[in-house]
Subunit: 228 residues, 2 copies
DNA sequence: CTTTGAAAGTGTAAAATTCACATTTATTAA
DNA sequence: TTAATAAATGTGAATTTTACACTTTCAAAG
């Protein structure tokens, strides 16, 4: 078969990852300090180029694994960015992804990169259109977290109600009422209350919960939809 | 500056458009019958390749203008599709867009393509991953139509409440209660009720409305958010 | 061993929103 | 004048959301 596409322009394609974490207080993003041109020394998202033999999801996965060593991370594609001169070196398309990782379990970041966690509202300015990507990522995360039980990706497997509430407050950027929050979460009936308590936060101790994924899936296939 | 990216793989990048229309009864998509290889004779979305000098939005716009002659059409990027062999000819990335056009005003489709409107639930099967793109487009449209007043893009400038309700029913795929719908729409206070009536649908005639964009914008900047 | 401090845990009533639902009005064609 | 057809209109019940404050637990301090 002759190649009908041979006269078309090709482009470099990159993926850039907005990596979210949560430290029990603030929503954070992981940024790297570029030690290569262009824009050496500036802060940016972690990214990489798409290879011929992989999908975008695989590329994002690879980039993430390379930086954090983590596999099976929650990743969602956001959208493509395509300003003609967004990268000064060469015409490069970028597809933004966001990732949710559990900081507490995983502190080992590849030292090859000078990576650092920043509160989302204290992050430095970023190269290219990365700022715009972050804004979009936050808005998507806000939406998604109210629609799908993805918040748990940011928490340790066992967590307290307080942690869960603080997480949602950080994601939504607003304070929530404790009793209403707990009532709503319990109403969803997708958490498992453990016998175990976390004794760090108070003398009384607070119960630990886990997300009951199996129960959630069963409920979903019965027509249930998560809605915070 | 030496080109640091020169060893990276490049890819063809396409845009594919899900073009929605509404005929006062059903939500429709405009498909073309391919008269070129690969998959000649099969139905597909209208698409085209991204050129070096344009953004994705511009490419989608160009593709759309070429097919329909329309400018300033509502277009929203959906996401990238990147299965390695999604196009059998060559590795091609595609960015899906959806467009909302007002069928009644514009019937002139470029005859160069054999294009045809299909009800969304009666569309033929499509080439490549276009089917998947359509599904995603519908779900995004459903969400967006409840969040932003984009429905009006699919209607003539002057429309009846009945038309508006039928449109939302078609988008959401469910019947709505007439009185509740009207009460909700009127509650938003973003329509202008005209003195004019549409006398085609009944002896009594039904009032025509227009979307009052200025009022809507003013309300938005006062903190209002459209929510159906 | 009693007191104190600090966070955890718990329920209800008011307000707002959503939902279900049926009759009257206007017009023209018969 | 009557009949037929779609347009227009409001209310009460049910549900959901919101606001709100006191009691419990336990270890550390005295």
């Amino acid at each position: 078969m002759i190649n009908l596409y041979k006269d078309e322009d090709k482009a470099l394609v990159a993926v850039d990852c907005i990596i979210f974490g949560f430290d029990n207080e603030n929503l954070k993003i992981l940024l790297i300090k570029r030690d290569f041109e262009p824009e050496r020394g500036k802060w940016s998202l972690m990214g990489g180029f798409l290879k011929k033999s992989e999908t975008l999801d695989e590329a994002a996965d690879r980039v993430l694994r390379h930086l954090t060593g983590l596999n099976n991370v929650y990743l969602e594609q956001l959208r493509g960015y395509s300003k003609v001169d967004r990268d000064p070196v060469e015409r490069t398309l970028s597809l933004a992804y966001y990732a949710l990782i559990n900081i507490s379990d995983h502190t080992e970041i590849n030292e090859e990169y000078s990576a650092k966690w920043f509160n989302i509202d204290e992050a430095p300015s970023l190269i290219f259109d990365h700022q715009e990507m972050v804004r979009y990522a936050i808005s998507r995360l806000r939406y998604r977290a109210q629609t799908k039980p993805i918040g748990f990706e940011l928490l340790p497997q066992k967590f307290t109600m307080k942690q869960l509430q603080s997480l949602y407050e950080a994601i939504l950027g607003e304070k929530l009422d404790k009793r209403n929050f707990i009532n709503k979460i319990n109403g969803l009936d997708i958490l498992l209350k453990l016998d175990e308590k976390d004794m760090n936060s108070s003398r009384k101790g607070s119960y630990l919960y886990t997300f009951d994924e199996l129960k959630y899936r069963a409920k979903v296939s019965d027509g249930f939809t998560f809605k915070l």
